[in-house]
């Protein structure tokens, strides 16, 4: 599903590569934690999957497509198959829960009848039934992140990328978020989650890929955050 082959990424004006000869394979339906300290290359990895950045060398395949050969014109179609969740939720403050989720379908031109059918379903899936007409500011951090997950998942993507989704949320609420991610993973969606949160990684017992200074230092199935912690 995601295939990195010897990928190196050096940002302009920086000597040290953000990713240094990284090779990783993520299969369909896997749940993978991407761990490592700040600046280890986790976010760069996710940006490369979305083709927001291009690698300096090496090849990347996502959902069967070679990103180097994917024209800019087709990048939006790639992104429709990838859902994204961020630490800062990125909800539209002037739209309510329903509208925020529906927005993701409206802007890719889905018919209104389809939107009316699937949006309530996905709101229920993330556990926000009955809150469809609340505004983001009326919700707790955990609930806002559920809205963001509903928006990421509403188009049934093949891959869900989560960049520190529990970074702004207290540990008790984080468990709920992880349950939703697990539920999404069980529908067959590949989940790739970058995180700092050792407790969560340890409790989930999923595959762990650890980055340090742009290099993969560990790739372990059913792993934990790290021996040092």
């Amino acid at each position: 599903m995601i295939h990195f082959d010897n990928v190196t990424k050096v940002y302009a004006n920086q000597n040290r590569p953000a990713l240094d000869h990284v090779s990783v394979d993520v299969d369909k339906g896997e749940f993978v934690f991407l761990v490592g300290p700040s600046g280890s290359g986790k976010s760069t990895f996710l940006r490369l999957v979305l083709k927001e950045e291009r690698p300096n060398s090496g090849s990347i395949h996502v959902a069967g497509k070679d990103l180097a050969r994917l024209s800019n014109f087709k990048v939006p179609h790639l992104r429709r198959r990838i859902g994204c969740v961020f630490q800062d939720f990125r909800l539209l403050p002037n739209k309510n829960v329903y509208e925020n989720v529906a927005f993701a379908l409206e802007v890719i031109g889905k018919p209104r009848r389809f939107i009316r059918k699937v949006v309530p379903e996905v709101i229920e899936l993330v556990g926000l039934e009955g809150k469809a007409h609340r505004m983001p500011e009326e919700l707790s951090g955990g609930e806002q992140q559920r809205v963001a997950m509903a928006r990421a998942f509403v188009n049934r993507p093949m891959i869900l990328l989560a960049d520190e989704p529990t970074g702004n949320i207290d540990p008790a609420t984080s468990i709920g978020i992880m349950k939703v991610l697990d539920r999404i993973n069980r529908t067959g969606t590949t989940v790739l989650m970058a995180t700092h949160d050792a407790a969560i990684v340890d409790s989930m017992r999923k595959r762990v890929v650890e980055l340090e200074d742009g290099k993969i230092v560990r790739d372990q199935s059913r792993g934990v955050y790290g021996q040092a912690y």
Binding site: L50, F73, P76, H77, L78, R79, R80, R81, I82, C84, R90, L92, F103, A104, E106, V107, I108, G109, R112, R151, N155
Partner: protein
């Protein structure tokens, strides 16, 4: 493509940038109106030119008893023999179509009709008026050559080439047109910059929305269209105002000078000019939005 989604986004964008939108509309309206005025003057000049070219005449004035012109120095009034020979000379020229003689009585009558200076009229007598030949040419462009060859003839005091008079009128109108077009170009330039700024503000205001649109895989056209439509609508409204200004110009100015100039431009010309200016206005707005988008909206 969901039209109502695009239109609601456009409406929000225009309302958020109301002052900038008004500035764009006013600039486009004034710029396009000036462009239209330039085009209208242009078409008026070419209509006048074609109307007048087959009516231009050479006036060959003859010496009177006390003509002040140097050609008549030390000689008296033109004699009958000189008139006959001059008329024959003129008629013999290959470029001349016909010659008419204007005697003193006719000249006095024409003078009374055309000049409004009462004092001058009251002291002018019929005998003061010069006699003249009115020469109609086959090819108006040859006027200068014919005038040159006639100016040395005996008893000819002065030759007036009407073409020269018309040329000065057309020259003045040409200057007016160039001025209107010059200011129009400046206004178009200002409009382009204003639209660029509006789109930049708009892109900044909506960066959250466009960011999410990019993320969920909205196609470029979906992301850019609301911005381009904002430019298009502002350009269209500006174009409508320009059209109104042009209609007012036609009524107040071009109908007003109708009494001096035959053959004024018709409403069909005005309609054509309005259509052209509108198309140009809208094109400029759309192009300016599109180019600015490339810079400020990473897609």
């Amino acid at each position: 493509m969901r039209a109502n989604f695009i239109f609601s986004e456009v409406w929000i964008g225009l309302r958020r940038n109301l002052t900038m939108t008004i500035a764009v509309i006013v600039t486009v309206a004034v710029g396009m109106a000036l462009l239209g005025v330039g085009l209208m003057i242009n078409s008026q000049v070419s209509r006048l030119t074609s109307y007048w070219t087959d009516k231009v005449e050479l006036s060959v004035y003859l010496c009177t008893d006390k003509s002040p012109f140097p050609a008549c120095k030390n000689r008296g009034a033109v004699t009958e023999a000189e008139k006959t020979s001059l008329k024959q000379t003129i008629q013999a020229m290959p470029d001349v179509e016909r010659v008419e003689f204007e005697d003193q009585a006719q000249a006095y009558k024409n003078f009374q009709e055309s000049d409004s200076n009462k004092l001058l009229l009251s002291v002018t007598r019929v005998e003061d008026m010069p006699e003249s030949f009115r020469v109609k040419l086959k090819d108006p462009d040859k006027a200068a050559a014919v005038a040159d060859s006639l100016s040395g003839q005996p008893a000819v005091s002065r030759i007036i080439n009407q073409r020269v008079l018309l040329d000065s009128v057309f020259g003045f109108m040409g200057k007016l047109r160039n001025m209107a077009l010059g200011v129009a170009i400046l206004m178009v330039f200002a409009a382009t910059l204003l639209i660029g700024n509006t789109v930049r503000l708009s892109a900044y205001n909506r960066r959250r929305e466009t960011g999410i649109m990019r993320l969920v895989g909205a196609s470029n056209i979906y992301i850019q269209l609301p911005f381009v439509m904002e430019g298009l609508i502002a350009g269209l409204i500006g174009g409508v105002f320009a059209g109104v200004l042009l209609i007012i110009t036609k009524i107040l100015v071009f109908e007003g000078i109708q009494m001096y100039m035959q053959n004024p431009i018709g409403w069909d010309t005005v309609a054509g000019v309005i259509t052209l200016t509108m198309v140009i206005g809208v094109l400029i707005c759309v192009l300016a939005s599109f180019i600015t988008l490339r810079r400020y909206l990473r897609v």
